[in-house]
Protein backbone atom coordinates (compact mmCIF):
# COMPACT_ATOMS: atom_id res chain seq x y z
CA UNK A 1 0.00 0.00 0.00
CA UNK A 2 1.44 3.39 -0.94
CA UNK A 3 2.07 5.89 1.84
CA UNK A 4 -0.93 8.07 2.69
CA UNK A 5 1.01 11.28 2.13
CA UNK A 6 2.00 10.12 -1.37
CA UNK A 7 -1.61 9.19 -2.07
CA UNK A 8 -2.81 12.71 -1.30
CA UNK A 9 -0.79 14.11 -4.18
CA UNK A 10 -1.74 11.31 -6.54
CA UNK A 11 -4.24 11.57 -9.37
CA UNK A 12 -7.67 10.30 -8.34
CA UNK A 13 -8.22 9.21 -11.95
CA UNK A 14 -5.03 7.12 -11.91
CA UNK A 15 -5.64 5.47 -8.56
CA UNK A 16 -7.30 2.13 -7.95
CA UNK A 17 -10.36 1.66 -5.77
CA UNK A 18 -8.43 0.64 -2.66
CA UNK A 19 -5.96 3.52 -2.82
CA UNK A 20 -8.91 5.87 -3.25
CA UNK A 21 -10.66 4.41 -0.21
CA UNK A 22 -7.52 4.81 1.89
CA UNK A 23 -6.75 8.30 0.64
CA UNK A 24 -10.27 9.72 0.99
CA UNK A 25 -10.10 9.42 4.80
CA UNK A 26 -7.43 10.59 7.24
CA UNK A 27 -4.03 8.99 7.50
CA UNK A 28 -3.99 5.55 9.06
CA UNK A 29 -7.72 5.49 9.84
CA UNK A 30 -9.04 3.16 7.12
CA UNK A 31 -10.12 -0.34 8.08
CA UNK A 32 -11.35 -2.51 5.25
CA UNK A 33 -14.48 -4.57 5.83
CA UNK A 34 -15.16 -7.68 3.77
CA UNK A 35 -11.77 -7.25 2.13
CA UNK A 36 -9.92 -9.52 -0.28
CA UNK A 37 -8.74 -11.88 2.44
CA UNK A 38 -12.40 -12.66 3.16
CA UNK A 39 -12.59 -13.92 -0.42
CA UNK A 40 -16.17 -12.84 -1.15
CA UNK A 41 -16.00 -13.23 -4.90
CA UNK A 42 -18.85 -13.66 -7.36
CA UNK A 43 -20.20 -17.23 -7.64
CA UNK A 44 -21.96 -16.24 -10.88
CA UNK A 45 -18.77 -15.22 -12.68
CA UNK A 46 -17.13 -18.41 -11.52
CA UNK A 47 -19.94 -20.46 -13.09
CA UNK A 48 -19.66 -18.48 -16.32
CA UNK A 49 -15.90 -19.02 -16.48
CA UNK A 50 -15.18 -15.30 -16.18
CA UNK A 51 -12.29 -13.96 -14.11
CA UNK A 52 -13.17 -13.22 -10.51
CA UNK A 53 -11.76 -10.79 -7.96
CA UNK A 54 -11.47 -11.40 -4.23
CA UNK A 55 -13.29 -8.16 -3.40
CA UNK A 56 -15.71 -8.44 -6.34
CA UNK A 57 -14.57 -5.03 -7.54
CA UNK A 58 -15.84 -3.05 -4.58
CA UNK A 59 -13.82 -1.89 -1.59
CA UNK A 60 -15.78 -1.22 1.59
CA UNK A 61 -14.57 -0.02 4.96
CA UNK A 62 -14.60 2.61 7.61
CA UNK A 63 -12.27 5.46 8.49
CA UNK A 64 -12.29 8.95 9.89
CA UNK A 65 -12.00 12.48 8.60
CA UNK A 66 -11.32 14.89 11.44
CA UNK A 67 -13.77 13.72 14.09
CA UNK A 68 -16.25 12.33 11.57
CA UNK A 69 -16.64 8.57 11.13
CA UNK A 70 -16.71 7.87 7.39
CA UNK A 71 -18.08 4.68 5.84
CA UNK A 72 -16.40 4.29 2.47
CA UNK A 73 -17.52 2.44 -0.64
CA UNK A 74 -15.13 2.48 -3.58
CA UNK A 75 -15.80 0.86 -6.94
CA UNK A 76 -13.04 -0.53 -9.18
CA UNK A 77 -13.52 0.23 -12.87
CA UNK A 78 -10.71 -2.02 -14.08
CA UNK A 79 -12.62 -5.10 -12.92
CA UNK A 80 -15.42 -5.69 -15.47
CA UNK A 81 -15.97 -1.97 -15.88
CA UNK A 82 -16.92 -1.54 -12.24
CA UNK A 83 -20.18 -3.38 -12.84
CA UNK A 84 -22.22 -4.09 -9.73
CA UNK A 85 -23.29 -7.67 -9.09
CA UNK A 86 -24.73 -9.56 -6.16
CA UNK A 87 -21.67 -9.65 -3.91
CA UNK A 88 -20.46 -6.12 -4.59
CA UNK A 89 -24.01 -4.85 -4.23
CA UNK A 90 -24.37 -6.58 -0.88
CA UNK A 91 -21.13 -4.96 0.27
CA UNK A 92 -22.50 -1.53 -0.69
CA UNK A 93 -25.83 -2.18 1.02
CA UNK A 94 -24.23 -3.36 4.22
CA UNK A 95 -21.70 -0.54 4.38
CA UNK A 96 -24.57 1.97 4.30
CA UNK A 97 -26.61 -0.15 6.73
CA UNK A 98 -23.69 -0.24 9.16
CA UNK A 99 -23.39 3.54 8.94
CA UNK A 100 -27.09 3.95 9.78
CA UNK A 101 -26.93 1.49 12.68
CA UNK A 102 -23.78 3.15 13.95
CA UNK A 103 -25.52 6.51 13.75
CA UNK A 104 -28.53 5.23 15.67
CA UNK A 105 -26.43 3.64 18.38
CA UNK A 106 -24.25 6.69 18.69
CA UNK A 107 -27.18 9.11 18.72
CA UNK A 108 -28.99 7.09 21.41
CA UNK A 109 -25.91 7.05 23.64
CA UNK A 110 -24.86 10.65 22.94
CA UNK A 111 -27.87 12.87 22.19
CA UNK A 112 -25.69 16.00 22.05
CA UNK A 113 -23.44 14.95 19.15
CA UNK A 114 -22.30 17.76 16.90
CA UNK A 115 -22.85 17.53 13.17
CA UNK A 116 -19.17 16.78 12.69
CA UNK A 117 -19.28 13.84 15.07
CA UNK A 118 -22.06 12.04 13.19
CA UNK A 119 -21.12 9.44 10.61
CA UNK A 120 -21.29 9.99 6.86
CA UNK A 121 -21.09 7.68 3.86
CA UNK A 122 -18.78 8.36 0.92
CA UNK A 123 -19.30 6.42 -2.30
CA UNK A 124 -16.62 6.59 -5.00
CA UNK A 125 -18.42 5.60 -8.18
CA UNK A 126 -16.69 3.92 -11.09
CA UNK A 127 -19.29 1.89 -12.89
CA UNK A 128 -21.64 1.42 -15.80
CA UNK A 129 -24.26 -0.03 -13.47
CA UNK A 130 -25.60 -3.57 -13.38
CA UNK A 131 -23.23 -6.44 -14.06
CA UNK A 132 -25.09 -8.04 -16.94
CA UNK A 133 -23.65 -11.46 -16.11
CA UNK A 134 -25.64 -11.37 -12.89
CA UNK A 135 -28.78 -9.76 -14.34
CA UNK A 136 -31.52 -9.97 -11.72
CA UNK A 137 -29.14 -10.28 -8.78
CA UNK A 138 -27.38 -7.13 -10.00
CA UNK A 139 -30.65 -5.27 -10.47
CA UNK A 140 -31.85 -6.30 -7.06
CA UNK A 141 -28.60 -5.03 -5.56
CA UNK A 142 -29.31 -1.62 -7.11
CA UNK A 143 -32.80 -1.56 -5.58
CA UNK A 144 -31.42 -2.50 -2.19
CA UNK A 145 -28.80 0.24 -2.33
CA UNK A 146 -31.57 2.73 -3.16
CA UNK A 147 -33.55 1.41 -0.21
CA UNK A 148 -30.59 2.02 2.10
CA UNK A 149 -30.17 5.55 0.74
CA UNK A 150 -33.80 6.26 1.68
CA UNK A 151 -33.19 4.87 5.16
CA UNK A 152 -30.09 7.04 5.52
CA UNK A 153 -32.04 10.14 4.53
CA UNK A 154 -32.09 12.75 7.29
CA UNK A 155 -29.68 10.73 9.41
CA UNK A 156 -26.50 9.88 7.59
CA UNK A 157 -25.43 12.16 4.75
CA UNK A 158 -24.28 10.26 1.66
CA UNK A 159 -21.64 11.91 -0.52
CA UNK A 160 -20.89 10.73 -4.07
CA UNK A 161 -17.40 11.28 -5.45
CA UNK A 162 -16.87 10.81 -9.17
CA UNK A 163 -13.50 11.31 -10.81
CA UNK A 164 -12.74 7.92 -12.26
CA UNK A 165 -12.06 6.67 -15.75
CA UNK A 166 -15.34 4.79 -16.23
CA UNK A 167 -17.48 7.49 -14.65
CA UNK A 168 -20.89 6.71 -13.20
CA UNK A 169 -23.60 5.46 -15.53
CA UNK A 170 -26.56 3.12 -15.75
CA UNK A 171 -28.40 2.18 -12.62
CA UNK A 172 -25.64 3.62 -10.50
CA UNK A 173 -26.27 6.97 -12.19
CA UNK A 174 -29.69 6.90 -10.50
CA UNK A 175 -28.06 5.94 -7.21
CA UNK A 176 -25.59 8.84 -7.45
CA UNK A 177 -28.44 11.21 -8.25
CA UNK A 178 -30.19 10.09 -5.06
CA UNK A 179 -27.24 10.94 -2.80
CA UNK A 180 -27.12 14.19 -0.82
CA UNK A 181 -24.05 15.73 -2.39
CA UNK A 182 -21.95 15.03 -5.48
CA UNK A 183 -18.26 15.93 -5.76
CA UNK A 184 -16.59 15.55 -9.16
CA UNK A 185 -13.35 16.29 -10.95
CA UNK A 186 -13.32 17.43 -14.57
CA UNK A 187 -12.41 13.83 -15.54
CA UNK A 188 -15.52 12.42 -13.87
CA UNK A 189 -18.62 11.62 -15.91
CA UNK A 190 -22.14 11.18 -14.66
CA UNK A 191 -25.18 10.05 -16.60
CA UNK A 192 -27.94 7.52 -16.80
CA UNK A 193 -27.63 6.04 -20.25
CA UNK A 194 -24.01 5.48 -21.24
CA UNK A 195 -22.69 7.16 -24.43
CA UNK A 196 -22.38 3.87 -26.33
CA UNK A 197 -25.97 2.96 -25.56
CA UNK A 198 -27.22 6.38 -26.68
CA UNK A 199 -25.36 5.97 -29.95
CA UNK A 200 -26.78 2.49 -30.39
CA UNK A 201 -30.35 3.66 -29.76
CA UNK A 202 -30.32 7.07 -31.43
CA UNK A 203 -27.69 6.67 -34.14
CA UNK A 204 -24.20 8.06 -34.64
CA UNK A 205 -25.54 11.23 -36.24
CA UNK A 206 -27.38 12.08 -33.03
CA UNK A 207 -24.62 11.13 -30.61
CA UNK A 208 -21.16 9.90 -31.62
CA UNK A 209 -19.82 8.04 -28.59
CA UNK A 210 -16.35 8.01 -30.18
CA UNK A 211 -16.32 11.80 -29.93
CA UNK A 212 -15.03 11.92 -26.41
CA UNK A 213 -15.01 15.71 -26.36
CA UNK A 214 -18.78 15.59 -26.99
CA UNK A 215 -19.26 12.86 -24.39
CA UNK A 216 -17.43 14.86 -21.73
CA UNK A 217 -19.10 18.10 -22.75
CA UNK A 218 -22.42 16.37 -22.10
CA UNK A 219 -21.65 14.21 -19.06
CA UNK A 220 -18.33 15.48 -17.64
CA UNK A 221 -17.60 17.26 -14.40
CA UNK A 222 -17.48 20.77 -15.80
CA UNK A 223 -20.88 20.43 -17.48
CA UNK A 224 -22.41 18.82 -14.43
CA UNK A 225 -21.08 21.65 -12.30
CA UNK A 226 -22.55 24.31 -14.58
CA UNK A 227 -25.99 22.73 -14.73
CA UNK A 228 -26.04 21.93 -11.00
CA UNK A 229 -25.94 18.13 -11.25
CA UNK A 230 -22.85 18.17 -9.09
CA UNK A 231 -22.23 20.38 -6.08
CA UNK A 232 -18.47 20.68 -6.06
CA UNK A 233 -15.79 20.46 -8.73
CA UNK A 234 -12.32 19.69 -7.38
CA UNK A 235 -8.82 19.03 -8.72
CA UNK A 236 -7.86 15.52 -9.77
CA UNK A 237 -5.94 14.54 -6.66
CA UNK A 238 -6.97 12.27 -3.82
CA UNK A 239 -6.01 15.15 -1.52
CA UNK A 240 -8.48 17.51 -3.17
CA UNK A 241 -11.31 14.98 -2.78
CA UNK A 242 -10.24 14.28 0.81
CA UNK A 243 -10.22 17.97 1.68
CA UNK A 244 -13.64 18.47 0.13
CA UNK A 245 -15.00 15.59 2.20
CA UNK A 246 -13.40 17.11 5.32
CA UNK A 247 -15.19 20.40 4.63
CA UNK A 248 -18.51 18.63 4.03
CA UNK A 249 -18.17 16.44 7.13
CA UNK A 250 -18.85 19.39 9.43
CA UNK A 251 -22.05 20.44 7.64
CA UNK A 252 -25.52 20.06 9.09
CA UNK A 253 -28.28 17.84 7.79
CA UNK A 254 -30.08 20.99 6.62
CA UNK A 255 -27.00 21.95 4.59
CA UNK A 256 -27.04 18.52 2.94
CA UNK A 257 -30.78 18.72 2.28
CA UNK A 258 -30.17 21.96 0.42
CA UNK A 259 -27.55 20.32 -1.77
CA UNK A 260 -29.86 17.55 -2.93
CA UNK A 261 -31.27 17.50 -6.46
CA UNK A 262 -34.32 15.36 -5.79
CA UNK A 263 -36.43 14.24 -2.87
CA UNK A 264 -38.86 17.04 -2.06
CA UNK A 265 -41.66 18.91 -3.85
CA UNK A 266 -39.39 21.96 -4.16
CA UNK A 267 -36.59 19.89 -5.71
CA UNK A 268 -39.02 18.27 -8.12
CA UNK A 269 -40.36 21.67 -9.14
CA UNK A 270 -36.80 22.83 -9.76
CA UNK A 271 -36.06 19.78 -11.89
CA UNK A 272 -39.21 20.42 -13.91
CA UNK A 273 -38.15 24.02 -14.51
CA UNK A 274 -34.93 22.59 -15.93
CA UNK A 275 -36.91 20.30 -18.23
CA UNK A 276 -39.09 23.22 -19.34
CA UNK A 277 -36.01 25.29 -20.09
CA UNK A 278 -34.56 22.49 -22.20
CA UNK A 279 -37.82 22.16 -24.10
CA UNK A 280 -37.87 25.88 -24.73
CA UNK A 281 -34.19 26.24 -25.61
CA UNK A 282 -33.81 23.08 -27.71
CA UNK A 283 -30.03 23.18 -27.16
CA UNK A 284 -27.95 21.58 -29.92
CA UNK A 285 -24.92 21.28 -27.69
CA UNK A 286 -24.02 21.57 -24.03
CA UNK A 287 -22.30 24.83 -24.90
CA UNK A 288 -25.68 26.39 -25.71
CA UNK A 289 -26.67 25.74 -22.12
CA UNK A 290 -23.38 27.14 -20.83
CA UNK A 291 -23.99 30.30 -22.85
CA UNK A 292 -27.55 30.51 -21.54
CA UNK A 293 -26.13 30.34 -18.00
CA UNK A 294 -24.26 33.55 -18.81
CA UNK A 295 -20.89 32.30 -20.02
CA UNK A 296 -19.89 34.60 -22.88
CA UNK A 297 -17.19 32.28 -24.29
CA UNK A 298 -18.38 28.72 -23.62
CA UNK A 299 -15.77 27.12 -25.92
CA UNK A 300 -12.96 28.48 -23.76
CA UNK A 301 -14.37 26.82 -20.63
CA UNK A 302 -13.41 23.30 -21.69
CA UNK A 303 -9.64 23.69 -21.69
CA UNK A 304 -9.55 26.31 -18.96
CA UNK A 305 -7.46 25.32 -15.91
CA UNK A 306 -9.69 24.50 -12.94
CA UNK A 307 -8.91 27.51 -10.69
CA UNK A 308 -9.69 29.92 -13.56
CA UNK A 309 -12.80 27.96 -14.41
CA UNK A 310 -14.11 28.04 -10.84
CA UNK A 311 -13.32 31.73 -10.56
CA UNK A 312 -15.26 32.82 -13.62
CA UNK A 313 -17.84 30.20 -14.60
CA UNK A 314 -21.50 31.14 -14.38
CA UNK A 315 -23.77 28.31 -13.19
CA UNK A 316 -27.26 27.74 -14.48
CA UNK A 317 -30.07 28.79 -12.19
CA UNK A 318 -33.60 27.62 -12.84
Amino acid sequence: MPKWNDLQGRSFLESNARDRAVGLVDEGTFTELAGPFDRFYSPHLETLGEAVEFDDGIVTGVGRVGVTPVFVISQEGKFIGGSVGEVGGAKMVNAIRLAIEFHDTLAAAHPDLTDAEKPIVVISFETGGVRLHESNAGLLAHAEVMDQLQKARGKVPVIAVIGSKVGCFGGMGFVAAATDCIVMSEFGRLGLTGPEVIEQEMGKEEFDSGDRALVFRTTGGKHKYIVGDCNYLVADTLGAFHDQIAELATKSLADFEAMRRIGSPEKVAQQLRGVALAAEMQPKDARDVWAHAGNADPVALTDMPLPDFLAQVKRLSV
Binding site: A51, E53, F79
Partner: protein
Protein backbone atom coordinates in the same frame (compact mmCIF):
# COMPACT_ATOMS: atom_id res chain seq x y z
CA UNK B 1 -17.11 -23.21 -19.21
CA UNK B 2 -16.16 -22.78 -15.60
CA UNK B 3 -12.97 -21.23 -14.29
CA UNK B 4 -9.78 -23.25 -14.25
CA UNK B 5 -8.00 -23.74 -10.99
CA UNK B 6 -4.36 -24.65 -11.06
CA UNK B 7 -2.74 -25.78 -7.83
CA UNK B 8 0.88 -26.63 -7.30
CA UNK B 9 3.75 -26.17 -4.94
CA UNK B 10 7.23 -24.78 -5.46
CA UNK B 11 10.18 -25.66 -3.29
CA UNK B 12 11.33 -22.47 -1.61
CA UNK B 13 14.79 -21.73 -0.29
CA UNK B 14 14.65 -21.25 3.44
CA UNK B 15 15.12 -17.57 2.75
CA UNK B 16 12.66 -14.75 3.13
CA UNK B 17 9.61 -15.70 5.11
CA UNK B 18 6.70 -13.35 4.67
CA UNK B 19 6.34 -10.83 7.49
CA UNK B 20 2.65 -10.22 6.95
CA UNK B 21 -0.11 -11.18 4.54
CA UNK B 22 -0.43 -8.87 1.59
CA UNK B 23 -2.93 -8.26 -1.19
CA UNK B 24 -1.81 -6.66 -4.44
CA UNK B 25 -3.21 -6.02 -7.90
CA UNK B 26 -6.50 -5.56 -9.70
CA UNK B 27 -8.03 -8.17 -11.99
CA UNK B 28 -8.22 -5.93 -15.02
CA UNK B 29 -7.90 -7.29 -18.52
CA UNK B 30 -4.36 -8.67 -18.92
CA UNK B 31 -3.75 -8.28 -15.21
CA UNK B 32 -4.07 -10.22 -11.94
CA UNK B 33 -4.26 -9.98 -8.17
CA UNK B 34 -2.47 -12.01 -5.52
CA UNK B 35 -2.99 -12.77 -1.87
CA UNK B 36 0.32 -13.72 -0.26
CA UNK B 37 0.11 -15.28 3.16
CA UNK B 38 2.69 -16.85 5.46
CA UNK B 39 2.22 -20.61 5.76
CA UNK B 40 4.70 -22.91 7.45
CA UNK B 41 5.23 -25.89 5.10
CA UNK B 42 8.91 -26.84 5.18
CA UNK B 43 9.89 -23.86 3.10
CA UNK B 44 7.48 -24.63 0.28
CA UNK B 45 5.45 -21.99 -1.51
CA UNK B 46 2.03 -23.30 -2.47
CA UNK B 47 0.14 -21.62 -5.27
CA UNK B 48 -3.48 -21.64 -6.34
CA UNK B 49 -4.33 -19.86 -9.59
CA UNK B 50 -7.86 -19.20 -10.80
CA UNK B 51 -7.98 -18.22 -14.46
CA UNK B 52 -10.39 -18.22 -17.39
CA UNK B 53 -7.55 -19.30 -19.67
CA UNK B 54 -6.60 -22.97 -19.80
CA UNK B 55 -3.49 -24.55 -21.23
CA UNK B 56 -0.70 -22.52 -19.68
CA UNK B 57 0.05 -24.78 -16.72
CA UNK B 58 3.75 -25.23 -17.53
CA UNK B 59 4.17 -21.51 -18.09
CA UNK B 60 2.65 -20.68 -14.71
CA UNK B 61 4.89 -23.22 -12.99
CA UNK B 62 8.00 -21.82 -14.63
CA UNK B 63 7.10 -18.22 -13.85
CA UNK B 64 6.34 -19.01 -10.21
CA UNK B 65 9.53 -21.09 -9.94
CA UNK B 66 11.50 -18.09 -11.19
CA UNK B 67 9.76 -15.74 -8.80
CA UNK B 68 10.35 -17.96 -5.80
CA UNK B 69 14.00 -18.56 -6.60
CA UNK B 70 14.70 -14.88 -7.36
CA UNK B 71 12.83 -13.50 -4.36
CA UNK B 72 13.88 -16.18 -1.91
CA UNK B 73 10.29 -16.43 -0.71
CA UNK B 74 9.53 -19.44 1.47
CA UNK B 75 6.79 -20.83 3.68
CA UNK B 76 3.96 -19.02 1.97
CA UNK B 77 0.69 -19.59 0.15
CA UNK B 78 -0.25 -17.57 -2.92
CA UNK B 79 -3.81 -17.19 -4.18
CA UNK B 80 -3.92 -15.67 -7.64
CA UNK B 81 -6.91 -14.45 -9.63
CA UNK B 82 -5.77 -14.07 -13.22
CA UNK B 83 -7.33 -12.44 -16.24
CA UNK B 84 -4.86 -13.31 -18.98
CA UNK B 85 -1.79 -11.61 -17.54
CA UNK B 86 1.44 -12.11 -19.48
CA UNK B 87 4.45 -13.60 -17.66
CA UNK B 88 6.01 -10.13 -17.52
CA UNK B 89 2.96 -8.73 -15.76
CA UNK B 90 2.74 -11.74 -13.43
CA UNK B 91 6.35 -11.31 -12.33
CA UNK B 92 5.90 -7.56 -11.97
CA UNK B 93 2.83 -7.94 -9.73
CA UNK B 94 4.43 -10.68 -7.63
CA UNK B 95 7.56 -8.60 -7.11
CA UNK B 96 5.48 -5.54 -6.21
CA UNK B 97 3.42 -7.60 -3.76
CA UNK B 98 6.60 -8.94 -2.16
CA UNK B 99 8.03 -5.44 -1.83
CA UNK B 100 4.83 -4.27 -0.17
CA UNK B 101 4.74 -7.23 2.19
CA UNK B 102 8.29 -6.64 3.31
CA UNK B 103 7.81 -2.89 3.67
CA UNK B 104 4.82 -3.19 5.98
Amino acid sequence: MSLNTLTFSVKGDAGAALKAPVHHGVVGSGDMEVLMEPKAQDGAVSVSIVTPVAGFDDLWKRVLQTFVSQSGLSDAHLDINDNNATPAVVLLRLRQAMTEAQAN
